[in-house]
Amino acid sequence: MSIILSAKNLTKTYPGNKYRSLINFNLNVEKGQITALLGESGCGKTTALRIIAGFESAEKGEVIINNRVMANDRLFTEPNDRGVGIVFQDYALFPHKTVWKNIVFGLNKLSKSEQQSVAEKVLSLTGLKGYEQRYPHQLSGGQRQRVALARALAPNPGVLLMDEPFSNIDSMKKNQIREEIREILKAAGTTVVFVTHDTKDVLAIADRVAVMKEGVLMQEGTPKEIFNHPANEYIAHFFGKTNVFQGNADENGKVASEIGVFNLPEGKDFGENVSISVRPNSFLVHTTERRGTVQVLVKKRIFMGEYTELICSIQSGSEAGMDLFVHVSSDFQATNDHLWLEVEEKNAWLMDLH
């Protein structure tokens, strides 16, 4: 696949700030892919997006779109010449223009009949037929978002950027709207980079994800890879609940911990201290004592619908007092206060401490 967008070594410090908002940021996006920039607020993800769009300039680094250098330390291409489409967090629909006028706004270089056909096409793609003459304030939040999407897609941008696309959507409707948006984007075959702080957005629509913290890209991969194999504790916690044990690696590549002894993966070396992440649903739960298990006391049972969450605490050993989240199926009947937990090698993910 061909690379459509590539950001190289982007570094940015906002005037008046002591710390850098973006540090040596690298990203390659392939044609037709949906890539998420994930992180907490202030992690630099929006800065990266704005530099790609051309609303900010980086002090170092390069932005290449469709094999054209858009910005480096000598050149800067204005946003209106970058061929980049943007869907803003607040949608930024022009309040004084109808849906139709909003959509043809970026098509002013085309003839009237071409505008007509392009607009018709994106209207039907986004399911907005019949709303052409409405004004933005007469639309629902989800419709406004689709207008913003249609407007950005109409000029057929090389890359579509979306800033927190689902943050203004009612939580009840989020799942449905994520699905709709993904279908529209895939049908249009658009290359997309979007920014979010919500892992659910990532899992629902992204092909690839880049996790950021304090201006640094920490890990990049498919959502599944990152969920299953987070590079560090921060990312492990970011992607849902997990239990992190401390382990000690010996020279033979064995990592010993309260929850068992595991082998370091080939070619990995994290130093002496290794973190072991175990997802709550990855435990084998026993009601009687066995070898290679850790004994826990069940403190709380919380019925969650499809599963039951047990909050357990380890009673003895180096992790004594640590609380564990254990998910068991809801028909799990055992009522005893003591359980013994075991983790299979494949479900224990060894990673860097930080």
């Binding site: 469709n66 000598r74 800067f76 010449d81 489409g85 706004f105």
Partner: protein, 555 residues
Amino acid sequence: MIKKLKGFSTPIRIRNYFNGWMGISLLVCLAVAFPLMVIFGHLFKTGDSSWQHITTNLLPAYTINTLILMGGVALLVTLIGVSTAWLVSMYKFPGRRVFQWLLVLPIAIPAYILGFTWVGMLDYTSPAYVFLRNNFGVETGQFLFFNILSMPGAIIILSLSFYPYVYLLARTWFMQQSASILEAGYSLGHKPLSVFFRIALPLSRPALVAGVSLALMEVLNDYGLVNYFGVDTFTTGIFSAWFAFGSPVSAIKLSGYLMIFVLILLMAERMDRGNRRYDSVGSQFRPLRQKELNRLNGFLAMITVMLPILLGFVLPVSMLIYWSIQTSHLAFDHRFLSLLKNSFLLASLAALAVISISVLIGFTVRTFPSRMARFMTRFATIGYAIPGAIIAVGLLVPFIWIDNQLARITGSAGGIIITGTWFTLVFAYTVRFMAVGYNSIESVMTKTSVSLDEASRSLGMSNRNTLFKVLIPIIHPGILAGALLVFIDVLKELPLTLILRPFNFDTLAIRAFEFASDERVPEAAPASLVIIFVGLMAVLLLRKTLKKQGYVHHP
């Protein structure tokens, strides 16, 4: 679908500072600040013989009078403004809702009009004096009660005219305070008055400082009233240096000294604005609930609040209406029409100039934000603090010089090419009222999300198209409001117009002022009423914005 990419790139480091938008904006800012630079350039030049005379014989009186006037007005506007604001924000009494808007009305009457109206209402032939003299034998000399043509008279009239600045800001401030702060005071055993002096007043200091300094800037700007009342201040000094002594150098040097007063005021206000950390507005905000007053106290509160409205608006306007009817056969002739035409045309031109420049600068700062850009806007809007007479002198001196040079080159005798033209007047108004227009445009711009501009640019629009196709259509209500405010201010303006007007050229304000100065006060009434009527539109506009946002951006 289309594919279009233009291959035009700009070197990045300089693009935020050196582009067409910044360049033009900077030039405009320099032009606007030009008169001020002239004044400061002349500050240390040696004066002529008139200057010797002025410094030894007149300057001490100018200084003392100006200081007394400022001190007196500061005290009185604080007293009127804060007490009325406190009453309408804290207590329920009959008519409170109406009064809280009526209290703003005196701002619609220029001080000089209020001044000569009151003189006309109290002099020997006034209806009130005649009535009291004939029926009760009241005889208090030339004027009823006391000699109003005096320093105390000037202080009272100026305060009646300018207290709304303090009132408006104090009221907004009180309204923004969370009720719990004051309730905390009550619960700790303090009586209402003690809460007022120990909590509310110290809390409202920023609003007070801002309001009083606005009022004092107006005092320094005033020429019509102090001249009419015979109080010699710096402003009247500038006029007599220019017109009586024929000494432009002295006028400029006096302007320079007056600027020192202005700068002190500006600094006081800026410094106070800088450390404003008294805000309690937050998620815990609970609006004040007005306390019920008993009948006697309610009545007293009503009287207190009504007094400034009566003295500052209702009585004088009634009198002006009465005079207008009396003199209507004299007033409304073809000359009045030409006055109207002159005034309205001038005001429209100035409004157009101010608004175009404001939009240009506002958009530039918005699109290329930088410290330099922000500094630039401060520079361009400094005129609101500078008395009109100073701006006039600062413009006239270099313009006369240019005219003389042009006359020498062309060999013509009279050097009136740009001085005494509409251009000079509009230029000066633009300098003086830039802040009025800019503030209303800036406030609508900040309320308009920048992502709209960014969306437009990402859809292939240039900055210019973004401005004209997206931003202006969205913010046009603010543009109109700003234009109207400038229009009204120009209509009222006196000192600047008096100095810069073309020969034999009159406006409504000048006509009113001249009639009054010729002791033909009733004949000044019709022109005054037109000015007040247009000024009332500003009050209405203000009320609308106040209601919508709960704060003031231009008092």
